[in-house]
């Protein structure tokens, strides 16, 4: 809950760091500058209140840099919901038209391609470095507010930690905090040390929360992204979809059959939609992952650092496996879990480049609950917020693969008594469970004299007469400018 409150304050900024020290092995400053671009994005935000409309046009700008052959790297949030993208280079009057080739919203990175190959004349792919030392100096390059031309700021590495990535709202990865000046308009810019890229500037705090705090995406995350797309598809981060609990307590250790060696972490829940379902169950003890011993607080030692055991999946790809030694009912076992990603999480994440799905029937607008919908509406019904928050931890998805909300009522004589149902969550239509938008569309397409919609809770049923809906359909469409009565596909562009 706390996290949610802090996240909106995170101000995504493009930062541009000037590299003062002379380069040793990496690229020269002149070449670096020529390999950067200002990205201008004309974006269209989907309209969840009137989902049949095309949405609100806006825009923004950020920084990108050449990372490979005909490839520009930037932040995903710079190019989200893009309808038209242009690139400008220092000292080149031309605007180049670009397109998004890959967007990884869970780690806020994207790859653009440019139609006109002339763009790459005089540029070099910037060299990728490693994780910079704490307190070492870094330079941030980019196009922040306060001027038109390239800007460079300098600071030191403050700390390296797992942090939430604000763009998707649910993901956390390794992230490096620097104290270089960060300003809006600079996201996606490279952070350099000794002529090599050591990070991608991507977010910070707004000035009234904290000063001189900026974050960059470190190179391991960038490399993982580049490797993931090698096969032409971005598969996203993998997740074990389990939670674990420490075994520090002596009684706990005794009950689980553990000796006094400070090893092993208890599995406290296993998501039934996750990859470990069928492999692990609550009460199992994980003793090692991929041969690395797991301590009683759930950490493993990796690259001279203690990290949470569950984060070992961070470094893996779809189809990879994780090997675990476990203790089940005091019996040692070994399991090998193939990795993929659990689907229910996407409902809780910000989503981009999709068109809102909905069904409009008798002036009643039904939409599936998602973070996008939640942030567009001011829902008062506490049940909606509760089910959103507990969708994954309480496995609400087993009963309700989607939570279909009656989000609004377009007033018409046929629905004048139906306002009380606003914000209700559909349970069934004509006694058939209706727990996805497709269920809803199917139920309304079946002929019936009455459509009786029941909602979660103890209220009365909503009753619509088919004849009334049919007679009102054209009236509602023309009165409210409804272009389509339904959209069932998110990717219907």
């Amino acid at each position: 809950m706390h996290l949610r409150r802090i996240l909106p304050l995170l101000l995504l900024v493009l930062i541009c760091n000037s590299h003062g020290a002379s380069p040793k092995n990496g690229s020269t400053p002149g070449l670096i500058r020529k390999s950067l671009a200002r990205i201008s994005n004309t974006a269209q935000e989907p309209n969840y209140r009137q989902p049949w409309l095309s949405g609100f046009t806006g825009g923004g700008s950020g920084t990108g840099w050449v990372v490979g052959k005909n490839r520009i790297l930037t932040n995903a949030h710079v190019v989200s919901n893009a309808r038209f993208l242009t690139l400008e280079k220092e000292g080149d009057p031309k605007k180049y038209i670009a397109a998004v080739e890959f967007a990884a919203h869970d780690c806020d990175l994207a790859i653009l391609k440019v139609q006109d190959e002339n763009f790459f004349q005089g540029t070099i792919p910037l060299e990728l470095g490693g994780i910079p030392e704490i307190e070492s100096e870094v330079s941030v390059y980019g196009y922040p507010i306060g001027g038109e031309r390239l800007s460079v700021t300098r600071g030191v590495v403050s700390r390296i930690d797992f942090r939430p990535y604000a763009h998707s709202a649910i993901d956390s990865h390794l992230s490096i905090q620097i104290d270089a000046a960060i300003n809006p308009g600079n996201s996606g810019g490279p952070v350099l040390q000794d002529g090599k890229v050591v990070g991608v500037a991507f977010q910070g705090f707004s000035g009234d929360v904290a000063q001189n705090v900026g974050y960059m995406i470190p190179i391991p995350v960038v490399r993982r992204f580049l490797k993931d797309i090698e096969d032409g598809v971005y598969d996203r981060y993998m997740d074990l979809s389990i939670s674990t609990f420490n075994t520090l307590n002596p009684a706990m250790r005794k009950a689980l059959g553990l000796s006094n060696n400070d090893r092993g972490v208890m599995v406290s829940s296993v998501s039934s939609a996750g990859v470990c379902h069928g492999f692990l169950k609550t009460g199992d003890v994980i003793l090692s992952v991929d041969g690395l011993p797991v301590a009683s607080d759930g950490t493993i030692e990796l690259d001279n650092d203690r990290i949470q055991m569950t984060e070992i999946a961070e470094r893996k790809f779809r189809g990879d496996t994780i090997r675990m030694e476990i203790l089940r009912d005091r019996t040692p076992m070994e399991i090998t879990v193939p990795l993929s990603r659990a689907w229910p999480f996407t409902m809780q994440a910000n989503q981009f480049d999709i068109s809102p799905t909905y069904v409009l029937f008798g002036g009643l607008l039904f939409q599936p609950l998602s973070r996008n919908l939640l942030s567009s509406m001011q829902f008062q019904n506490p049940r909606i917020h509760y089910l959103f928050e507990t969708f994954v931890p309480k496995e609400v998805y087993n009963e309700h693969p989607e939570l279909i909300v009656l989000t609004s009522v377009l007033p018409d004589p046929i629905n004048t008594y139906l306002n009380e149902f606003k914000e209700g969550i559909v349970e069934s239509i004509n006694d058939t469970p209706a727990r996805t938008l497709k269920d809803i569309a199917a139920a309304f397409s079946k002929p019936a004299e009455f459509y009786v919609i029941r909602f979660l809770g103890n209220g009365r049923p909503l009753v619509l007469e088919r004849s009334a809906v049919e007679s009102a359909a054209e009236r509602i469409r023309s009165r409210y400018g409804v272009l389509r009565d339904q959209n069932l596909e998110e990717n219907a562009h």
């Binding site: 520090l248 009684a251 706990m252 406290s268 009460g283 049940r383 509760y386 008594y417 103890n458 009753v463």
Partner: protein, 500 residues
């Protein structure tokens, strides 16, 4: 040193002298002269001390409240229940302020927000005839009585605009109110004020909104119901039907329900298990057309002889008493059926999460440092004025949706509210607000089940099962026993448990 000593002696003389002079003769005058300026009212001073539900072993600091009570026939004093909630000491004071008398609460109804006080010495109210009670109706001029600091009666007059059924301070209770439009200047920080019509008590102030000058009054019919009930052996309270309903104005709904030929009626959307409606074979989906011979309209109102169109809640709760049987006419699958419903009150302890707890210490059980409690609305309200957003999500949801939870013999929801860290709870320090489903596989339906469950430890270890992550934790049974006294010392606990 010398100076200050002198000064103290000097002041002492002056403050003591007048008190001595005036109080001696007043003891010999007849009690009724104390009421000369304002008959039939007494000041009520209440000291109350609420329990701290987030630290259930301790009470909060005492606070004082003042009220203007009404003397009724039989030498009892009527005040609002709010003002005597969690009272530790109640004192009555004559309008002139010269005589005081301790009193005790004889009957209290927190739902109807009424309490009846009895002075410990019956001579205190001698000579006071007591105000009779009379109903009022819209357009009547009502007087709101207050006392000036000097003991004089201050009367403000206002017009009663309406009577309606609306919410009372306890969540989920709704009764009749009179609404009066009157500008009031509040004197004496009084929590209860009498509202009078032609020298008769029309009700007590329920709440006053200064911005709109609207005064809500606990009306005579509610007061009379309370008083009549309080005369009996055991106070029973205001009964209910044990059902929820919804209006039927929507013509599409009416056609679907087959109500074409009928007028009015409300749709039963829920009946409480073991409630009066369920016993009377009222079912979800029935349409209630008549209650006690009164036709119910599509909004759930009936035509009251005194107040006109008003919610059926008044008819059921206030015009009837517990155990009275009332005839109902319901419409079920196309047919009219007659039912008889025996009214009963839903007592707070019948809720899974008690809606209010006053005058009673909350239970708790400390298990090696785990603080186990029973979920209640007062616990959630410890999270402040925005409790409905700030209290723990899972507990709030259980409280909010408790009527949807199949009861299955469960009396209470036992939860771990926090951990008082000790040697026994290493690793568990961060657990909080977790529902405890069982201990040693013994399901918990209330705190009272814990001692029995603790006898079932296997291998000297207690298994505590939680409804959320981490789902199970373990405690060493022997260590739990041993740590008790040092926990009491370290956290200054008066006892390790309080079970009802």
């Amino acid at each position: 040193m010398r100076n200050s000593l002198h000064l103290i002696g000097f002041i002492g003389f002056w403050t003591l002298a007048p008190l001595h002079l005036f109080s001696a003769p007043s003891a010999s005058t007849s009690p009724s002269t104390h009421f000369a300026a304002a008959p039939n009212v007494v000041r009520v001073a209440v000291t109350s001390q609420a329990y701290d539900f987030s630290r259930p072993w301790s009470k909060r600091a005492p606070i004082s409240k003042r009220a203007l009570g009404v003397v009724l026939q039989g030498q009892r004093v009527l005040v609002t229940a709010e003002c005597v909630a969690n009272a530790t000491y109640v004192e009555l004071e004559t309008p002139d302020g010269e005589s005081k008398q301790a009193a005790s609460v004889e009957a209290v109804d927190y739902e109807a927000n009424l309490a009846l006080l009895k002075p410990d010495n019956s001579e205190f109210l001698q000579g006071q005839t007591g105000l009779p009670i009379a109903s009022a109706s819209a357009n009547d001029t009502l007087s709101i009585w207050q006392l000036e600091p000097n003991g004089k009666l201050m009367v403000s007059k206002g017009q009663m605009t309406t009577a309606e059924v609306t919410r009372y301070p306890i969540d989920e209770s709704a009764f009749l109110i009179y609404r009066v439009s009157v500008p009031l200047q509040m004197r004496d920080a009084s929590a209860t004020l009498p509202v009078v019509k032609d020298g008769k008590l029309a009700g007590l102030m329920l709440r006053y909104e200064a911005s709109s000058n609207l005064l809500d009054v606990i009306p005579a019919p509610v007061v009379q119901h309370f008083l009549k009930d309080a005369k009996g052996d055991a106070y029973k309270g205001f009964p209910r039907m044990g059902l929820a309903f919804s209006g039927t104005r929507d013509p599409q709904l009416r056609r679907y329900l087959g109500l074409n030929g009928t007028k009015g009626g409300v749709l039963v959307t829920q009946t409480l298990p073991d409630g009066p409606a369920a016993f009377a074979d009222i079912q979800k989906g029935d349409v209630l057309l008549e209650i006690d011979g009164q036709a119910i309209d599509a909004d759930g109102n009936y035509a009251d002889p005194d107040y006109g169109t008003i919610s059926l809640g008044h008819l059921v709760c206030t015009k009837h008493f517990e155990n009275e049987a009332i005839p109902l006419k319901v419409f079920r699958s196309g047919k009219l059926e007659n039912k008889t419903l025996t009214l009963a009150r839903r007592r707070p302890e019948q809720f899974l999460s008690e809606p209010y707890i006053f005058d009673r210490a909350p239970g708790y059980f400390i298990l090696g440092g785990f603080v186990l409690q029973e979920l209640s609305r007062p616990y959630l309200k410890e999270f402040g004025s925005e409790w409905s957003r700030k209290a723990p999500m899972d507990l709030l949801n259980l409280d909010r949706t408790q009527s949807e939870i199949p009861k299955g013999g469960k009396k209470r929801i036992v939860f771990l509210s926090r951990v008082l860290p000790s040697d026994v709870t290493v690793g568990y320090e961060d657990l909080r607000h977790q529902v405890v489903t069982s201990i040693n596989d013994h399901p918990l339906s209330s705190l009272s089940d814990i001692p029995e469950a603790l006898k079932k430890a296997v291998g000297g270890i207690h298994k505590v099962e939680l409804s959320g992550d981490p789902h199970q934790v373990f405690l060493d049974a022997e260590a739990v026993e041993k740590i008790g006294p040092s926990l009491m010392r370290a956290y200054r606990l008066p006892a390790l448990s309080r079970l009802q």
